[in-house]
Amino acid sequence: MEPITTFTAKIVALPSENIDTDQIIPARFLKTTNKTGLGESLFADWRYNTDGSPNPDFVLNRPDVQGAQVLIAGNNFGCGSSREHAPWALQGYGLKAVVSTYFADIFKNNALKNGLLPITVDEETYHQLVSLFEEEPGTMVTIDLAGQRLVLPDGRKVEFPIDGFSKHCLLNGVDQMGFLMQQEEDIVAYETAHPAAFGTVG
């Protein structure tokens, strides 16, 4: 995983609440056995017409949002299924962060493990970002992970929360498996102290 450094990028707003993972990537695209190519299916049922042509009314198809890397979305983003294909599709499209008032638990976990930043902001900041996008398409924001700050075009800095461990992993480009592998001694100790108390499968 590439380390995440401070970046400045164009925003795109999808101001609906409860955008579920079935919208982010419909289940029929989950019959794959790898992580690549999912960006094309991002928001497929909103983004494409029945004949497969782009739906001109959907925001991601507007010429002026091409290249946007920060998605602004309504509360409870990523609710529904546990599919990690959701962050894979968002990243495959080119997004680096999603800003919302709050995220569904499993989606947030999945996003953090892939280096897609879930940025939680207050209602006021969220509405300001949506207005900025609507009034001035092409608006850029800066995301400073080390400082946990989102910097708006007017210079206002908004702090966002992130757990210290995920932040460390993302800043250094290390994944969490490595840390778990280092716990071997504790895992062995636990298994010795807690032999299977139930009939196991094998």
Binding site: E84, D105, N114, F179
Partner: protein, 479 residues
């Protein structure tokens, strides 16, 4: 004196391999890991790339359910797979299980079925355990007093390799359901009412514990229906404290402890319920006496109402984003505010999914179906949750009741709940479904879903339109 603990806290504390520190989350031990074809291939790829083994194959069980066909078997006794992409995904699971030594219930074999149906069925799901699966409805297993939750594919790889997960401790949420259910009102109606009350984000960051007289009175399969949809209320896990109902259900199942081990296990499980004086971070209370059959009208499971109510009007909502969401949902559903859903025609009725495909669901559905017919023009699918459920239903003649009524009796799998396998709604069709999600396109692109109980589903299939089952229960039936 020690601090009183909740059921959740007892299980959490008992599985800590390494406690949470200021810099790192807790390392939590996982007792059982369930695997299916859709969310596992990329995790096995990661293991291969890193040269890792599966640490505890004997604590891992795989099945095929999501992308599997539910169409009838061929003359060779096998279930034909016509979708080449699905076939490749199923082959990959077979190969992965073979290479890493994981037991697999292959498509069509005697124990295969929906991952959240087979764990309890085999007696693998037991009180006090930690259980995970790359599937958000893993919360189902919480009905046994286990801590069970859905994980992503990166975490599937973590558990395969280390049998552990990195977790921040969630908050606790008491969901109390007092009183007694009225005839025609079921577990599905309880959970739809809870979600309608707290909203689909209401439980975010929390683990539900369902309690109260109405929950105690439920069978294990009804408790599974409720815990199953915890995630639709935003909670990763939902649990019910184990009791004699739990122990009776587990006793004698293939993987249940036997003899002296059984006695020891039950004694241990009796210590799991929350201590007197244990406190929860949040609480909600419902009165079961007041519940009616529930149905959803919108595009998330929180958009639900009593079946005889009228569709809410976005104009009456103060919160602009909620108003916009409802407006968008009603446009998708092509429904008008202020109108009833009762009498609304449907094209399809689906009885199945990890929410409502167990033998008791099918018995309830068949009991109402007996002597009645599916209305002309309505397609009804009955999809048992597992091969075992299917066999049992056939032994009891339930399949005949459904077939004589004009319904399709199919092989076991997730089927039209997730619509990955060809079982899907066509654009614009309406369905009453016993599954768990009514998101846009969930049951097929452009399809429109009303979530309801198996009883409401059968009543609707018979009349061809959304029906209050309580009226049908009052009718005499010619058998």
């Amino acid at each position: 004196m020690t601090q009183p603990k909740t059921l959740f806290e007892k299980i959490w504390d008992a599985h800590i391999v390494r406690p949470e520190t200021a810099d790192t989350p807790a390392v939590l031990y996982i007792d059982m890991h369930l695997v299916h074809e859709v969310t596992s291939p990329q995790a096995f790829t990661e293991l291969r790339e890193r040269g890792l083994k599966v640490r505890r194959p004997e604590r891992t069980l795989a099945t095929m359910d999501h992308s599997t066909p539910t169409t009838p078997r061929g003359l060779d006794g096998l279930i034909p797979i016509v979708d080449t992409q699905a076939a490749a995904q199923l082959d990959r699971l077979t190969q992965n299980c073979q290479d890493f030594g994981i037991p697999l219930y292959r498509l069509g074999t005697e124990n295969q079925g929906i991952v959240h149906v087979i764990g309890p069925e085999q007696g693998l799901t037991q009180p006090g355990m930690t259980i995970v699966c790359g599937d958000s409805h893993t919360s189902t297993h919480g009905a046994f007093g286990a801590l069970a939750f859905g994980i992503g594919t990166s975490e599937v790889a973590h558990v395969l390799a280390t049998q552990c997960l990195l977790q921040s401790k969630p908050h606790t949420y008491a969901v109390r359901v007092n009183g007694q259910l009225q005839p025609g009102v079921s577990a599905k109606d309880i959970i739809l009412a809870i979600i309608a009350k707290i909203g689909i984000g209401g439980g975010t960051g929390h683990v539900f514990e369902y309690m109260g007289d109405a929950i105690r009175a439920l069978s294990m399969e009804e408790r599974m229906t409720i815990c199953n949809m915890s995630i639709e209320g935003g909670a990763r896990a939902g649990m019910v404290a184990p009791d004699d109902t739990t122990f009776e259900y587990i006793a004698g199942r293939p993987f249940a402890p036997k003899g002296a081990e059984w006695e020891a296990a039950v004694a241990r499980w009796r210590n799991l319920p929350s201590d007197e004086g244990a406190t929860y971070d949040k609480e909600v209370v419902l009165d079961a006496n007041e519940l009616t059959p529930m149905i959803t009208y919108g595009t998330n499971p929180g958009m639900g109402m009593p079946i005889n109510a009228t569709i809410p009007d976005p104009a009456g909502m103060r919160d602009p984003s909620a108003r916009m969401a409802l407006d968008k949902a009603l446009t998708y559903m092509d429904l008008r505010p202020g109108t009833p859903l009762l009498g609304h025609p449907v094209d399809v009725v689906f009885v199945g999914s990890c929410t409502n495909s167990r033998i008791s669901d099918l018995r309830l559905a068949a009991g109402l179906m007996r002597g009645r017919k599916v209305a002309p023009g309505v397609r009804m699918l009955v999809v048992p949750g597992s091969q075992q459920v299917k066999r049992q239903a056939e032994v009891e003649g339930l399949d005949q009741i459904f077939k004589e009524a004009g319904a399709e009796w199919r092989e076991a799998g997730c089927s039209m709940c997730i619509a990955m396998n060809g079982d899907e709604l066509r654009p614009g069709q309406y369905a009453v479904s016993t599954s768990n999600r009514n998101f846009e396109g969930r049951q097929g692109k452009g399809g429109r879903t009303f979530l309801a109980s198996p009883l409401t589903a059968v009543a609707t299939a018979v009349n061809g339109c959304v029906t209050d089952v309580r009226e049908m229960l009052a009718e005499p039936v010619a058998v």
